[in-house]
Symmetry: C2
Subunit: 507 residues, 2 copies
């Protein structure tokens, strides 16, 4: 894999100096075009062997291009705000907006390689990290991002010579590196695992470019030309991408059975039972959220449902059980300008709770496969891939201890009508009903189908959907609270077991 | 000051229950109106004696109102990202957007009171903190924010009884407080310094409300009514506020002398001198940025100047001296939607560098007293108060170690014309010149006046302006680099001296 990067590529000074001015000019122009179109972000990943010119190249790119449109991001030590959240959070928060270029110097690849070379984990975990990166990059590209992945390579002999030279140079002797490159087996391991990573993550939409790092002219010119060609190609592509899904559209149920249809909508609670159970469940939730095991977890509750199904009321009953300092409620409406300049899931990543905290989403990332699908706000290709992206997202955050509980509050059509009419006739509820609600109601069957597909495709072991029969508000509220409590208890039990097991293993 | 809050205010259950429904309804309606108008944010500060019902009140407000429109913020231990920046940064990043309500439970007042009661500093420092808060709140209100400040009070006897009761209640025994309220003198000190703080920070635009905390009915109803009345008043105020400045408009110089006119625009550097000095200054900057004393500081460079004065070129020469991981360049254009929903300075606070880092602003917060003043994008009242707000801002960040260096790059009218023409005739520079540039040129004299006023009013000891004669690009670039280097050296020297002094004081 690195053979072509050890053959002594070099470019003489004359050729280099003759080619650079035109290259710079073209890069500047492409960069300007990128900003003007503001259609997609550019992400440049910088990886490879110590001393192979990574830093020099990034510096040169900043000189050649307009540095005001480039963001160089380093990911060294995690901050405590980052440590309190899933690992990918630090990358999401640093993504460049559409029209800008982010250079990720140190990134998910460096993190997994460091870990593997240091022996923090074995190949299986490395492979998990590899797969996760692949899915992340696929998603970014599907959202329009242009990704360049550069691997700067040196042979072992070349590296040793280079490190020696750097050490003797007072301008560079301050360099520190978390891997001890002076040791011969560090190089060997790094190259071995590096190969595994490159092999598995070089894809048509985001290929690796292995660059021989010995000769600065060759290295710089090659990187510059790859960037230029990639940029120019992407800028020429039509603004509206063709709908690429060849898969057949989702099939509507061939009989009349549906998941929502199978709910027993007559479920209800008497007032006395309700009041008793509500207080019990609220006290239980309050206790669980103060449990010290909560420090290892965070909680997310997603509320989706028919209009007027009682999401707001259910959320208030949950909130009432808790100290307002523990939770925050995020109402999801149309994305803002800053949010539109980022991949779809960005605005939800922003709101991921830190360990010990609880975030309630009043509507959520499922908007893509519900309202956006039905109203045609995104293409079928977009909502079709959303199922997988959402599963990846929830798996990632669950893996780091976030408990994700998802509710669909279901009412029947008649109940909705009654509630709409009641809202219209009650002065202080009137703001709860708009033209949109009446329009959505006409699409009742479309929503029914979309909800069925959503549950079939995103109700997973790590985060199952709970369908809540909500014709009776009391029943719904108690069921919501009880489900949250069970989810917390299950998660605590599971981590207790894991802890016991890991203690036992240590003995 | 607390007399009226120790007289045993109480409201009986019947009255309370009779009044609450209408109050809740009205609060909900006001909240909805607030969201719809989205004209201003509401900030509620919660302070006072332990056990006086702070937490209970916040919880109740979340129950009474729509919790989806309320953000409860706590400010306990600072995170390392917060510790690396000026103290006010943590508050700025948590400000609610227009149309929303932020409850700051723990805030600048708690921080200063904790510090003073614990004896971390004396009255002089407390008073500095008080003045800073006052200026911050004045600015927030001038930007339209509605601020409520609640102080929950108990007499010492009442507090002791309350703490005893809470201790015995298993639901509350987990409470911790960083101040040891069990100690009698803690209460005395807290009340004494609390009085000082309230006395000095109760202003017409943001008065304190001292609430007796013993009786829950009285406490809740009082807070609810104060909020309601304040909200309703603010919502009724006209959308466009009258221009309140009674001060005479700034006087244009009565003779023809001006600051910019006093520059010697013939300053220039020969090519050889330039190349030598540029390299020297770049190496010096590179060394200073790697100096270990830089860990105590951050650096901000502000670039303003005439169109085509060479800001971009100067910035590139600065960047070229540095490792791209150390700096970021922030180009300032029109604010985004998220930014427009916040006070003017918010988008600059977002970009404050962490200690050890360097942020270059390509245009800056001075836009308000330059382009916004001249184009009438804001009212005279807005840009008149901006001078003071900017001085406060720069003083605050300087006080925490940020070195602020500000450049005005000045060219004469003829030079600008030549550069515009050159840009229009060079293909890859054509994007640098727009209709706007020609229009701005027509306002040459207005800019001249505005720059004069800006420098007169914001060139301070903590962060002076440097006027750069930029007809000759070489001269300008070297002067910029040299100024940055001197600023760094001065700051290092100053902190060395302080360190020596404090070591000496300790002996």
């Amino acid at each position: 894999m690195f053979e072509s990067a050890e053959i002594g590529h070099a470019i003489d000074k004359e050729t280099y100096e003759a080619e650079v001015p035109a290259l710079r000019e073209a890069l500047l122009e492409a960069q300007f075009d990128l900003q003007q179109q503001a259609r997609f972000p550019v992400i440049v990943l910088i990886n490879g062997i110590e001393g192979a010119g990574k830093g020099e190249t990034v510096k040169l790119l900043n000189e050649w291009m307009d540095p005001r449109l480039i963001e160089v991001r380093t990911f060294d030590q995690q901050t405590d705000e980052e440590l309190a959240r899933p690992p990918a959070w630090r990358y999401w928060r640093m993504l460049p907006a559409k029209g800008r270029m982010g250079v990720f110097f140190g990134n998910w690849y460096s993190q997994m390689l460091q870990g593997r070379v240091h022996g923090l984990f074995k190949d299986a975990v490395l492979d998990q990290a590899i797969n996760q990166s692949e899915r992340m990059e696929k998603m970014l590209c599907d959202e329009g991002a242009l990704i360049f992945k550069f691997w700067f390579h040196l042979s072992k002999k070349q590296m040793k010579a280079r490190l020696k030279a750097l050490q003797d140079d007072p301008l560079h002797s301050w360099r520190i590196s978390p891997l001890d490159w002076q040791q011969s087996h560090t190089y060997d391991k790094f190259v071995m695992y590096g190969e595994r990573v490159i092999r598995r993550t070089s894809r048509d939409y985001a290929p690796w470019h292995v660059i021989e790092g010995v000769d600065a002219h060759y290295r710089s010119l090659t990187v510059g030309k790859i960037l230029l060609e990639g940029l120019q190609n992407a800028l020429k592509r039509p603004a509206v991408k063709p709908d690429k899904v060849n898969a057949a559209p989702l099939l509507t149920s061939v009989d009349q059975l549906s998941l929502l249809g199978s709910l027993d909508m007559s479920q209800r609670l008497e007032k006395n039972d309700y009041e008793e159970q509500l207080i019990t469940e609220q006290a239980r939730l309050s206790g669980l959220m103060r449990d010290k095991r909560m420090r290892r977890h965070a909680l997310i509750a997603v509320f989706e449902g028919n209009d007027a199904a009682g999401k707001g009321g259910a959320i208030r009953r949950v909130a009432a059980a808790l100290d307002p300092r523990q939770y925050s409620i995020v109402p999801i409406a149309a994305p803002t300008e800053d949010e539109r300049a980022q991949p779809y899931l960005w605005r939800f990543w922003r709101q991921i709770p830190a360990r010990g905290k609880f975030t309630v989403f009043d509507r959520s990332w499922y908007g893509r496969v519900l309202v956006e699908r039905i109203e045609g706000f995104c293409s079928p290709a977009d909502w079709m891939r959303a199922y997988g992206e959402i599963n990846d997202f929830e798996e990632q955050i669950s893996a780091s201890g976030v408990i994700v509980v998802k509710f669909w509050l279901a009412i029947d059509k008649q109940t909705q009508l009654e509630r709409f009419q009641e809202r219209e006739s009650t002065p202080f509820k009137r703001f709860k009903i708009t033209e949109d609600d009446w329009r959505n109601r006409e699409k009742w069957d479309d929503y029914r189908t979309a909800v069925g597909d959503m549950v079939d495709r995103t109700s997973t072991e790590v985060s199952p959907w709970t369908l809540v029969e909500a014709n009776d508000k009391r029943w719904a509220r108690v069921k919501v609270l009880r489900t949250l409590n069970r989810a917390l208890e299950d998660a605590f039990e599971k981590s207790d077991k894991q802890e016991k097991k890991s203690k036992k293993d240590k003995k």
